[in-house]
């Protein structure tokens, strides 16, 4: 028996606006009363697995990088476990936060995450998914936060078996979800809000 208890409507979204830094990364725009910005450090000690750096830009429809975006990521540890209260499969790496928050650089637009290569987690019907990171983007001009995922271009076999990637009708667009390996532990992942390379965004 499946039913709704009490049909409330989700609160409507409004843009994060140009000053999202004040509330979410206050030490980025000026000195603040917080000792550090949440989500800036994803590793609080030695971590298991491969440490990686992901850098990228968010581009608008004119091809200009956004310099006022906020990007958040959420992912499991190297063993595929989430540091979340509702993770029931085991205990995640205590030195790994799983969640990161980065802003586009105010001059260049570059964002950066220092994290670990995620392990695998089951998807619909228990089929294992390829390693991926959940991404959420907000900025001035974005009326409702955009969800997407980072997969890895050096995970060819896992990607080819992934239950979400294989649903994508235009397989050419799959590459918009792939971080490109740029050296040992280094990946590039650009997000295109519009245009011929528009990133696939999700409605989950």
């Amino acid at each position: 028996m499946t039913e709704r208890l009490n049909n409330l409507k989700e609160s409507p979204s409004q843009t994060a606006g140009p000053y999202v830094h004040i509330g979410c990364t206050p030490n980025f725009s000026s000195k603040s009363s917080y000792s550090y910005d949440l989500g800036k450090t994803m590793k609080i000690g030695p971590v298991l697995g491969e440490e990686i750096t992901i850098v990228g830009y968010v581009f608008d429809g004119a091809g200009a990088p956004l310099c006022d975006a906020m990007i958040e990521i959420w992912q499991p540890d190297a063993a595929g476990l989430f540091p979340a209260t509702n993770e029931t499969r085991g205990i995640a790496d205590p030195n790994f936060m799983g969640w990161g928050r980065s802003t586009s650089d105010m001059n260049t637009g570059e964002f950066i995450f220092e994290t670990v290569k995620p392990g695998t987690v089951p998807g619909p019907d228990g089929v294992m998914q390829a390693p991926h990171i959940t991404v959420w983007v907000v900025a001035r001009g974005i009326n409702i936060g955009l969800h997407t995922r980072i997969y890895f271009n050096d995970e060819t076999i896992a990607n080819s078996l992934d239950p979400i990637l294989s649903q994508i009708k235009n397989q050419k667009r799959v590459e918009t979800l792939l971080a490109l390996k740029k050296g040992v532990g280094r990946y590039q992942f650009d997000i295109h809000l519009q245009g011929p390379h528009e990133t696939i965004f999700f409605d989950i």
Binding site: T2, R4, L8, S32
Partner: protein, 245 residues
């Protein structure tokens, strides 16, 4: 007979109720709105889990914007208010232990941000930034000053209604939400292109906080009530019948 609840997939978002990506009267949306259809699939563990925030990240004044940026013995200028409410999911269940962040302009409508060039003065005692973690049943509150309306470069003469920005987490990463709270009776609400990205009067009302005289502190502070609803999961009930019944 007892009833046990098992949580299912997240209920799909009502995209007709939420603002469209492209709302041309809000000019920044023109080049920043995706145009292809979104890819839909049922939530997985990646979306059904969410980071943990403990109360130990909070400083003692994080929920008091009147004092958290003020010099000793001084305080922010403006009409003192309490903003309070409950963070709920669509099933009406309060969400405890979740992070709520808020930011706003000062009483003159000026943000403490290097890109804000509005000629209204900064208040040296006002930072405009606060946060809290919800209590049991999802209740939250903070104290601040009522922000002023401000002009913004959009249509030539656009003014934002007074508002407070909110960022909320929840128990699943797909609940992640950023929104804005408006104040009951503000004449700028119906003129604002960002407010008008909303699709109905009901949606605007859902973001408009009424004056709450019950929580007002006489001769001290007025109060506004603002509940926030995050997405919910399908609830599946299993009847656990006792043997022999």
């Amino acid at each position: 007979m007892s009833l046990s609840v098992q949580k299912g997939k997240f209920i799909p978002r009502d995209r007709e109720w939420q603002p469209e990506a492209l709302t041309p009267a809000y000019k920044s949306s023109v080049k920043r709105s995706p145009q292809a259809a979104l890819l839909s699939f049922p939530s997985t563990l990646s979306e059904e889990t969410s980071p943990i925030f403990n109360n130990n990240i909070l400083g003692p004044l994080d929920n008091d914007l009147i004092f958290n940026h003020a010099k000793p013995g001084e305080s922010a200028i403006g009409a003192r208010i309490i903003v309070h409410g409950q963070i709920l999911d669509e099933n009406g269940i309060g969400i405890p232990d979740t992070l709520v962040e808020f930011w706003q302009a000062n009483a003159g409508g000026r943000y403490r941000h290097k890109n804000d060039r509005y000629l209204a003065n900064l208040d040296p005692n006002f930072g405009g930034c606060g946060r809290t973690i919800t209590a049991e049943n999802g209740f939250y509150e903070f104290r601040t000053i009522q922000p002023g309306p401000y002009p913004w470069p959009n249509g030539g003469n656009d003014w934002r209604p007074a508002h407070i920005h909110f960022s909320i987490f929840g128990y699943g990463f797909v609940q992640r939400l950023i929104t804005q709270m408006y104040f009951e009776g503000d004449p700028h609400i119906k003129l604002c292109p960002i407010v008008n990205s909303l699709t109905s009067k009901e949606a605007v009302d859902a973001l408009t906080a009424p004056l709450d005289m019950k929580r007002t502190i006489p001769m001290n502070c007025r109060a506004f009530k603002f509940n926030i609803v995050l997405r919910g999961r399908h609830q599946t009930y299993f009847e656990n019948r006792k043997e022999g019944l």
